[in-house]
Point group: C2
Chain length 342, copies 2
């Protein structure tokens, strides 16, 4: 069985969920897929642990950030360079925090990792929004895997379905409900709540972040739309190319009006190839019961593809919590290493 | 660019749709995926055409069965053996008619093709119901591709999503609306039509076959469930292991009653892993609005997976006509040859 080094960058919720998942799925990875992963490095901003060749691989499942800092191998200030210098290339699992526009510092780390021959999987939208095209080009040139399912809807297989399940078809439009927070708020407003009430309920349930600005402003949806659209349509557009309208207190009456007419107001992200350049737009739209995303309620997400040869294919659901994002990254790794049983 | 021989067995609706699609997608296959296919053989039961190495590849797009028989290279009685003997192994596209239980004659041809080193893609459920396990084992042993998306829901990516998009997750249950005819009839009965009226409407629209026995009896759903379940759960169960209940005239009042309670009656196919062996069942069930397949109406199909790490993922839609089945087979071929751009 092949054994592969795994290095984790970022020890937040997603990074720790990945560590737990890797430990939990050890037997399955070995038996079903014939691959063995050795966790050899885990970094957070303050430093990290590194188990060089010859040492046992790391068992960090169950540790929190403080636990990591208290690990006997923890070295303050340990950075990605030390990992690249100290280990044979394997899979880099990138779950750092990244600036939403520049993608840094994650973007530079991803580039450096690929340049050094590491496969990379990422849960960060920032680097993809900033330079998906360049990263994909670099991965092809270097012959390494570049997985980003965890960044485009977590366990919702939006990227897979669009790229793999529709291979050979031309996608003519993509429509998505790509943000759980706004979908929850809109669902509750359609049921009669006002904006502030719906939003504070979402925060109470842990669906909305304390500062929900990027979600309600439509920017989280716009970034995901940009990534998916660049991917499916092989373009290199920028966030500024997306026409974005979010939701606000004023949207509540629109949501109630839609409900009164048997419709549902959704924050719809659309990429349409109708004429020339792909039109990219995020904004509230009232969907009727025949729309494929009509039934996507609460914090759920979904994406619907119209194609030339396969009709309309819609995929809905998937956990969007840290465990879901970690599972999506693990999937990218498995697919990259080849599922021996399919 | 790699050039690969393609041999088509079966020149019915799906086979002819595949020929048209291959011709239509020639440029895309070359530019986007770097693969070139040469159609070198096409057989129907009465005989077929074969273009051996050195000859131009065949252009059969637009031909019907009579057109094939009138082709200058047509040889009456030409069978699969002549194809295997006359060509370098490539991709065998199998769209023959097959006995629903034994899978013959398609099953033997698939086995022989793999034994001779051909990759195979199939649109026939029969061979898969009879021996999916054996065929997959043979494909692994011989190192050839075995694609069967076209047989498990046409362009609905049920097999892909279950195998690829959920890689690394444990699927705990699969629920599907896997038959368009019964779903159409049930939808119309929920709207007030009686069984005979709904069925004859389905036949008028070309959704139901003139003899809809296998559909309304639940057997088409049961075969698809068996294939998907054996695939996802890595089992070798038989059709007799599925508890099957179909729909009938008596179902109409049940459908209306469900509609009166805000529910929808669906012919649900379920594989549950709850305890020990997977429980396999097809039968009418009233779904409420929160069920992920509630919105799958008319002739549409859908499948929903419950998993341990990715939550519930549901995929809906996809053309189920010959063009959809042909597109699904082409997808399997593209994925097998590796999408160079992903």
């Amino acid at each position: 069985m092949t054994r592969t080094n795994v290095a984790l960058l970022g020890f937040g919720n997603v990074g720790r969920a990945f560590v737990r998942l890797l430990s939990e799925k050890k037997a399955l990875l070995c038996q079903r897929h014939g691959i063995g992963f050795d966790l050899r490095a885990a970094l957070r901003s303050a430093g990290g642990v590194l188990a060089e060749a010859g040492r046992d691989s790391l068992d960090l499942a169950g540790l929190d950030r403080e636990g990591l800092a208290a690990h006997p191998l923890f070295r303050p200030g340990l950075g990605p360079e030390a990992v690249f210098d100290g280990l044979e290339p394997g899979v880099l699992v990138e779950c750092m925090s990244a600036h939403p526009d520049t993608g840094e510092p994650a973007l530079s780390v991803l580039r450096e990792a690929m340049a050094r021959g590491w496969h990379v999987v990422t849960a960060s939208k920032g680097p993809l929004a900033a330079d998906l095209c360049g990263l994909r080009r670099q991965a092809r040139t270097k012959g390494v895997v570049f997985g980003f399912s965890g960044a485009t809807g977590a366990a919702l297989p939006a990227a897979d379905v669009g790229l793999r399940s529709l291979a050979g078809a031309d996608v003519t439009s993509v429509q998505g409900i790509l943000n759980g927070t706004t979908n929850f708020v809109l669902t509750r407003m359609g049921e009669g709540l006002d904006y502030a009430g719906a939003l504070s309920e979402a925060q109470r349930l842990g669906i909305a972040e304390p500062d929900p600005g990027r979600d309600v402003g439509g920017w989280d949806s716009a970034v995901k739309l940009l990534i998916l659209s660049n991917l499916f349509f092989d373009e290199c557009r920028k966030l500024g190319d997306v026409a974005v309208e979010g939701i606000s207190a004023a949207t509540a009456s629109e949501a109630r009006r839609a409900a009164g007419r048997g419709k549902k107001l959704k924050l719809l992200a659309r990429a349409d190839r109708a004429t020339g350049r792909t039109g990219l737009r995020v904004g509230p739209e009232a969907l009727d019961a025949r729309h494929p995303l009509y039934g996507v309620d609460g914090a759920e997400k979904g994406v619907s593809f119209a194609t030339d040869t396969m009709g309309v294919v819609t995929v809905v659901g998937g956990r969007s919590d840290p465990r879901g994002a970690a599972a999506a990254m693990l999937k990218d790794i498995i697919l990259a290493y080849g599922d021996r049983k399919t």
